[in-house]
């Protein structure tokens, strides 16, 4: 075969999505592609897109599983549209065509495009032949037949051989994007290290896909993606949920308080429980409880006894925990509550993402019941925000709710590995044994924080509970003046946390025509949209919030310097409504989306353009 000449096209970034049936190995394929790219120096962001059903019927749209990877020089989102879609069957093509950029490339496993599969996918005709894909560059590759033939020839049985097709597809993609095969092979060897024979066959199938891509006429160009421009350091790829778990472990280590997690499995928060359960060597006591309520209540007991207590959940679980959060507020104990938000209300859309639990986190309890509320802005930011939220909770003796979401919880990006010793210190206000002046509700004058007196410490015997208590002494009381004072103390204590959080930063000029305001997991898309408009010369800036209750002290000063403020969030305007309560002097324009999917940068640019 004569060596073909390929045009090499330079691209700042590309978005590739692997889609197929659940069980086609799309998550693995995507992970191999993204890890290899990261190790070759690209910046990246990934997102798994899987159905709630564990194994929906084969070849149906309900059973489509996908993995989207965005790689490039500088990457902050998973990308609005895909430059390349790898579709292993008609159903996955049908479900994902809407996400392919016009003119984008679609690689299909032509062996799976048969009449029976069209029926199941709901296609009336073969989309490869009816002209419906004329706006795309289609590569029809004999993926499953070739993969199977090679695997069988190397001694694999038919059933296992069929499962190597994802490697053939990955081989094609690896060729087009010029991936480093050595790194890819090492990844595969690591993945299948328990069965070297399987690793070897997978590598052979991948090579065959690579060679196939090199030889066919449909592929005329290859792409070169520049390496990332990132600060020097040691990096890894990390998902938001893992980063959250590790941030909590780091806070436990630095505070000297052993971690206790009481939790109950719930999508999309379960990975935090799973990850922390692995780390008993670091004193992490993890209990999978009988329900969400036992999860938080065991954590409250653990906090009373001196643990750094955490409970992790998603929306419906936060609802179940409401009463107990009130107990933690009343007893003024540290407690970290992680809410990985999903589509609601009720069971809603468990595998989809939303930001609609904000008002629940702020206000969803009986009585006047303030908590610290924070939000992480990206997968890797979950580490820092979990750490900081635990620090605030421990040092201010009050429950704190960290809001993440399914999108950043399950998505991944590069993470610059910190040293735990470089993280800020955490000093919980522990009461000293035999302190003759100890009283349960005696407060630090500056912070209004009470002391943490651990059971087992001599001379600190005391009682706390959900009933209102007298100021300082902690006796049960229904005295009206005392109640008024205690309500005010608890509120003021949380408000004073504002002295211990960073000032709000602005991306762009500190005054101008439009200030975009956002919070939590939407930072990537909003940042890109604002940067894009700034490059066009627009006077637009971004204030992306990670501290919600209390708000940073300079919030109103920032807002005052812009002609218009637009608050964009993945709900029906909850942060905007909250800002109207806290800073009613400003006019807030709302931009909302409640579709279970992230913003796209394009839609944000269009929206912001109309506001000037």
């Amino acid at each position: 075969m004569t060596k073909k000449k390929f045009e090499v096209i330079e691209k700042e970034s590309v978005v590739v999505k692997f889609v197929g049936d659940c069980g086609d190995g799309m998550q693995l394929t995507g992970t191999l592609f993204s890890d290899t790219s990261a190790m070759s120096g690209n910046d990246l962001s990934t997102f798994p897109d899987y159905p709630a059903e564990i194994r929906a019927p084969r070849n149906t749209v309900a059973g489509v599983s996908g993995y989207q990877v965005h790689i490039g020089r500088e990457v902050r989102t998973i990308g609005d549209k895909c430059d390349m879609l790898v579709a292993m069957n008609p159903a996955s093509l049908k479900a994902n065509l809407q996400w392919v950029a016009l003119g984008g490339t679609i690689i299909v496993d032509v062996d799976a495009f048969v009449d029976k599969a069209f029926d199941k996918a709901g296609y009336a005709s073969n989309p490869l032949e009816d002209g419906s894909l004329s706006s795309y560059h289609i590569i029809q590759a004999p993926i499953s037949s070739q993969a199977k033939e090679i695997a069988i020839s190397l001694g694999m049985d038919i059933k296992d051989a069929d499962r190597t097709k994802n490697m053939y597809a990955l081989g094609i993609v690896a060729f087009i994007y010029d991936r480093d095969l050595k790194i890819l092979f090492k990844q595969i060897n690591d993945k299948f290290k328990k069965s070297p024979k399987v690793a070897e066959i997978n590598i052979e199938v991948l090579k065959a896909g690579y060679i196939y891509a090199e030889s066919i006429e449909a592929i005329e160009s290859r792409f070169h993606i520049p390496t990332a421009v990132l600060p020097k350091g040691k990096y890894r790829n990390i998902s938001g949920n893992i980063a959250t778990a590790w941030g909590l472990l780091a806070a436990s280590e630095r505070s000297g308080r052993p971690l206790f997690l009481g939790s109950y499995p719930i999508t999309p928060a379960t990975d935090i429980l799973v990850e922390l359960a692995r780390h008993k060597s670091l004193n992490a006591r993890v209990m999978q409880c009988e329900d969400e309520i036992a999860g938080i209540c065991s954590s409250i007991g653990a906090s009373y006894a001196g643990s750094m207590a955490v409970t992790s959940t998603s929306g419906p679980g936060l609802s179940l925990k409401s009463e107990a959060i009130g107990l933690a507020v009343m007893t003024e104990l540290p407690l970290v509550i992680i809410n990985v938000q999903r589509g609601g209300p009720s069971t809603g859309m468990p595998t989809k993402s939303e930001q609609a639990d904000l008002l629940q986190a702020l206000y969803g309890r009986n009585g006047s019941c303030p908590c610290i509320v924070t939000a992480a802005s990206s997968p890797s930011d979950c580490f820092e925000m979990a750490y900081n939220t635990a620090k605030l909770s421990l040092e201010h003796m009050t429950p704190a709710i960290l809001m993440t979401d399914g999108y950043i919880g399950q998505g991944t990006e590069l993470f610059r590995i910190p040293k735990v010793a470089d993280m800020p210190s955490i000093t919980p206000p522990l009461a000293k044994a035999k302190d003759p002046n100890y009283k349960p509700y005696r407060r630090d004058e500056k912070t209004l924080v009470r002391q943490w007196a651990l059971p087992g410490t001599e001379g600190l015997e005391h009682r706390v509970g959900g009933l209102e208590k007298t100021d300082i002494f902690g006796a049960v009381s229904t005295d009206p003046i005392n109640h008024d004072k205690m309500v005010s103390n608890r509120n003021e204590k949380v408000q004073r946390v504002a002295d211990y959080i960073p000032e709000q930063d602005i991306i762009g000029e500190d005054s101008g025509d439009v200030l975009v305001v956002s919070w939590g997991g939407t930072r990537g898309q909003v940042y890109e949209a604002v940067k894009n408009l700034q490059k066009q010369g627009k006077k637009i800036s971004l204030a992306h919030f990670k501290y919600i209750m209390p708000l940073p002290k300079n919030t109103a000063d920032i807002f005052a310097k812009f002609k218009k403020i637009v608050v964009c969030e993945l709900n029906d305007g909850q942060f905007a409504n909250y800002l109207r309560i806290v800073h009613p002097q400003f006019n807030y324009i709302k931009y909302n989306k409640i579709k279970g999917i992230p913003f796209t940068t394009t839609e944000l640019i269009n929206t912001f353009n109309q506001i000037f």
Binding site: F260, I293, G301, G326, P455, H462, V464
Partner: protein, 343 residues
């Protein structure tokens, strides 16, 4: 083992050392007064330092209890005393943790937690105040109210079968179950002491009188005049003999347990069952828990006490093993584990 791990007081403590400065606000004549006095006098006998006791409660009349005991105390929310106490116990094995809750708290709203706590065998001592009524909300039926009883929320009589605490404990694979009546503080104190020495979940069901909303609920078996004939006070290793003349006993017949009279129909003491609280098989314990007046005397004392590894110690063992074998010694080790690269 938790009991042996907890630090003991070097100075003798008294009941008064465990009385708090709070005024006790239960109704005069309420059974809770006797239970409080008994626990306050048993704590010194158990012998731990005062700061090593922790009393946790839920919501209800009984749940005011921690405020009256001068040690560490946590008044929780309705039904959740057991998970709160679980968190305390698991976090610090050197504490003696006591759960105080009523039949509403543990059998209704907290029923699920109760079963799972027992199944896990968390190192707790649970005092279940069973007065068969909701007191704090003023007289509604509870899950232990007898079938047909008229209460405020069952004006035509309840149409629900009550839970039997002992049978629930045993069904949840409980290892320690005792039953006492609130007017026998000597037995109550002895049973509390046994519960403290038992590692794992101990459940003491206290048949308690509510003078206001369910007065006399346990009268048939609690009345001192008739008690000897209606109560079988079990002692491990001793024959199940009762009665004012000490001549009645329990025999295992072909159709289960039978009440027999020694000296009648050729029955001798040899025919009478000897109580084995430490028997693994809970079959006989279940039959004893199921004895009800007037067919049987009610069984009191420690019905079951079987050693079994506790959740707390199994968890700690896993942590010790993990520390010995894991490469992860600190959080920096995790952060740098797996695939990393320099940029």
């Amino acid at each position: 083992m938790s009991y042996s791990m907890i630090e003991r007081s070097t100075v003798p403590l008294t009941k008064e050392d465990f009385a708090s400065d709070q005024m006790v606000r239960w109704c005069p004549g309420c059974g809770s007064h006797a239970i409080l006095a008994t626990l306050q006098s048993i704590f010194p006998r158990i012998g731990y330092k005062r700061e090593n006791f922790c009393v946790v409660s839920g919501i209800g009349c009984a749940s005011r209890f921690p405020y009256y005991v001068n040690t560490f105390g946590f008044h929780g929310i309705h039904g959740r005393a057991t998970p709160i106490a679980t968190g305390v116990s698991v976090s610090n094995r050197k504490l003696s943790v006591w759960v105080i809750a009523g039949d509403g708290d543990l059998m209704a709203i907290g029923g699920n937690h109760f079963l799972h706590t027992i199944r896990r065998n968390v190192d707790l001592n649970i005092l279940l105040f069973n007065n068969q009524i909701y007191g704090l909300t003023k007289g509604q039926y509870s899950p232990t109210t007898p079938f047909g009883q008229v209460t405020k929320t069952s004006p035509y009589g309840t149409i629900e079968k009550p839970f039997d605490v002992g049978k629930l404990v045993l069904a949840a694979q409980g290892n320690f179950y005792a039953r006492v009546v609130d007017n026998n503080t000597k037995l109550m104190g002895d049973v509390m002491y046994e519960a403290a020495k038992h590692d794992g979940t101990s459940v003491i069901e206290i048949l308690q009188n509510c003078v206001i909303f369910n007065d006399g609920a346990h009268k048939a078996i609690a009345d001192r005049a008739t008690a000897p004939d209606r109560q079988l006070i079990l002692k491990h290793g001793e024959p199940m003999i009762f009665g004012k003349d000490n001549n009645k006993g329990i025999r295992l017949g072909s159709r289960g347990l039978e009440v027999v009279t020694i000296g009648e129909n050729g029955i001798t003491e040899k025919d009478i069952l000897v109580h084995d609280a430490q028997q693994q098989d809970a079959g006989l314990h279940n039959m004893l828990a199921d004895m009800h007046w007037p067919d049987y005397p009610i069984a009191l004392g420690v019905i079951r006490s079987v050693p079994s590894p506790t959740y707390d110690e199994l968890l700690e063992k896993q942590m010790i093993d993990a520390k010995a074998t894991s490469n992860i010694k600190c959080v920096d080790d995790i952060l740098n584990s797996g695939d990393t690269w320099e940029i």
